[in-house]
Symmetry: C2
Subunit: 354 residues, 2 copies
């Protein structure tokens, strides 16, 4: 376990494990000795924990009586490395956040790798380290996994699927159907940073201030909000499709309307500028470290204060309200005084953003 | 929900849902309206169940106190459709079987689709139906999922990841470290059928008797064996890398040797013939509906009888024993009287077999 030192994303460095191959071969996914070596030296060495170490077809762990949350996402982000993160931490935080949006405490993740033949071992190693760091940061364990290799030209470097399991604490009842007229819509911070970071790097744009992805775990912020006596009705992380799509989904599920105030929705100056250059509406751009909480009006101030006390919610704001009128429709009061419909994204604004 | 009737794998037919598109577009994975339509009309319509229907970021279900098993696999099989099955039932049965090999009763699956732009909608629909049928056959529910689309030339039609959660009944203690000298090695049926079915179709080989994949759920066979008073030490399904790799892994984990008898290992005549033509050793060829059970010698006969009473284990046989000598090494007494080492598969025998 030694070799040349590399400087992976995140600034920490760690020697690349001994491998006879500079690039991943088809045989690394064949289920034989090379597969075993890759799994042992990369994943098992980094993700080490008592459940994974059993090397069975799956992990077995104890649970208490109660409710479990279960979620999955595949990550196909392009490029694999981008300002503020890489596919590895995205894959961990994405599923951690999906579990958190169910009101759950995320505990265990699975990781399924689909590698294109020829991927530099060093890239796979950087991603592995990023996943390990992200799992540590979120307080979850990667307990089971799978590695497949597809022929050159039949993939795109690396795709990662993660699934996750978490426990929903007794009494928690968040769900997309629970928004009620009068509720306030709280947003945990500035939007559109993940999508703009990816698009800037893809389009070779340089800005005075680097725009970095907001990729971050939200489970501790959620745990903190849910520990308050004031109930939260809906939690949602506005990823693909952005704030607009997330709120449209909730409006449809809860059969309510929403009225937002454009001026209240925080967008960093450089992000707004980049959106203009790229022809994007920040409301539709993906976030990977933000959440929307919908709460009763009488509790909004207190919950907002609580969110702001947490670093992941430092810039939290109240962006509007849930209304009984126009169910399924999200309206926004614009800066120039009019009202516009914030529709669901109809096509593909940003492909392969996560 | 009408349209032309198609005849999907398995012989059942079902109208293709209305879609304006003959092929999958990038926008079907963008998180907007087209994504929502695809999910609604294909996956949600077919996989319908109370947990999935909540359309949240994840599924929430009740659990009793005890032990859970959690497993994942990505499926990249090429071609997507092959004699005896398709990527859809493979993806369901594969994860169901991995959970069963942990001694668990599989309950809930996730499904993550990575679709290459341009995949015919009809193919995706056939796969969806096959998954629904497979889930029904195995008695599991697909409760949460994710759909991504990658640009043309950056995937290969369709990759599917499934993860699964199951409950391990009290008292069950199967694990790859539990094989003991003296134990018998039981195999549930004829080997190498999945791999040979795939390779035949890929190489355009035709045989007098069609060789079909053995893809099948093993959870009911496992439940039946585990309900017996006689304990099972190890369960393993010999998928990628075949029986040889599976037994080598168990021999290494349990620090024991194994002695097999070649003549006792069942291989169908046409499969043996195809292996000769294709230059394959059946011991290394993938199975998708077979299991190995390692049990105490005094219980072997009874457990074998029990296996044979189940259709998935009708051809079950005792193929050899666990020994204290040569730990980590699997030996086989050959047909001509000698002994040879059945080594771990070192490279890639059959790429993209599952």
């Amino acid at each position: 376990m030694s070799g040349k030192s590399i400087d992976p994303v995140g600034g920490f460095s760690c020697p690349l494990p001994i491998t006879d191959y500079k690039n991943v071969l088809l045989a690394h996914g064949g289920g034989g000795r090379l597969s075993q070596q890759l799994i042992e030296r990369f994943f098992r060495a980094q993700f080490s924990n008592p459940y994974l170490d059993l090397l069975h077809d799956g992990a077995v762990f104890p649970v208490e009586e109660g409710r479990l949350a279960f979620s999955t996402d595949s990550y196909v982000v392009h490029p694999l490395f981008f300002p503020g993160g890489c596919i590895g931490d995205l894959a961990v935080y994405g599923t951690v956040n999906d579990l958190a949006m169910c009101g759950a405490t995320p505990l265990y993740l699975s990781a399924g790798f689909i590698i294109e033949e020829g991927l530099p071992m060093e890239d796979l190693w950087k991603v592995t380290l990023a996943m390990q760091e992200a799992a540590k940061a979120a307080g979850v364990q990667i307990v089971t996994g799978d590695t497949k290799v597809v022929d050159r030209g039949k993939g795109d470097g690396l795709f990662i699927n993660t699934a996750g399991v978490g426990v929903v604490p007794p009494g928690v009842a968040v769900g997309p159907r629970n928004a009620r007229p009068g509720d306030r819509v709280l947003l945990s911070g500035r939007i559109a940073e993940h999508g703009v970071a990816i698009m800037s790097v893809r389009n070779g744009l340089a800005f005075d201030t680097a725009i970095v992805s907001d990729t971050a775990p939200l489970n501790r912020l959620v745990a903190s909000i849910l520990s308050m006596p004031e109930p939260v009705h809906v939690l949602r992380d506005p990823t693909r499709g952005g704030v607009a799509s997330a709120l449209n989904e909730v409006a449809a599920s809860s059969r309510v309307g929403m009225e937002l105030v454009e001026d209240l929705i925080p967008v960093a100056e450089e992000v707004r500028g980049a959106c203009e250059i790229l022809g994007l509406d920040p409301m539709y751009v993906a976030n990977e470290g933000k959440l929307i909480a919908i709460v009763a009006p009488e509790h909004a101030e207190r919950i907002l204060g609580h969110m702001r006390a947490h670093h992941a919610g430092a810039d939290a704001v109240d962006i509007g309200e849930v209304v009984a009128d126009h169910p399924g429709v999200v309206l926004m009061q614009t800066r120039i005084g009019g009202k516009r419909v914030v529709d669901m994204l109809s096509g593909e604004q940003l492909p392969r953003i996560c």
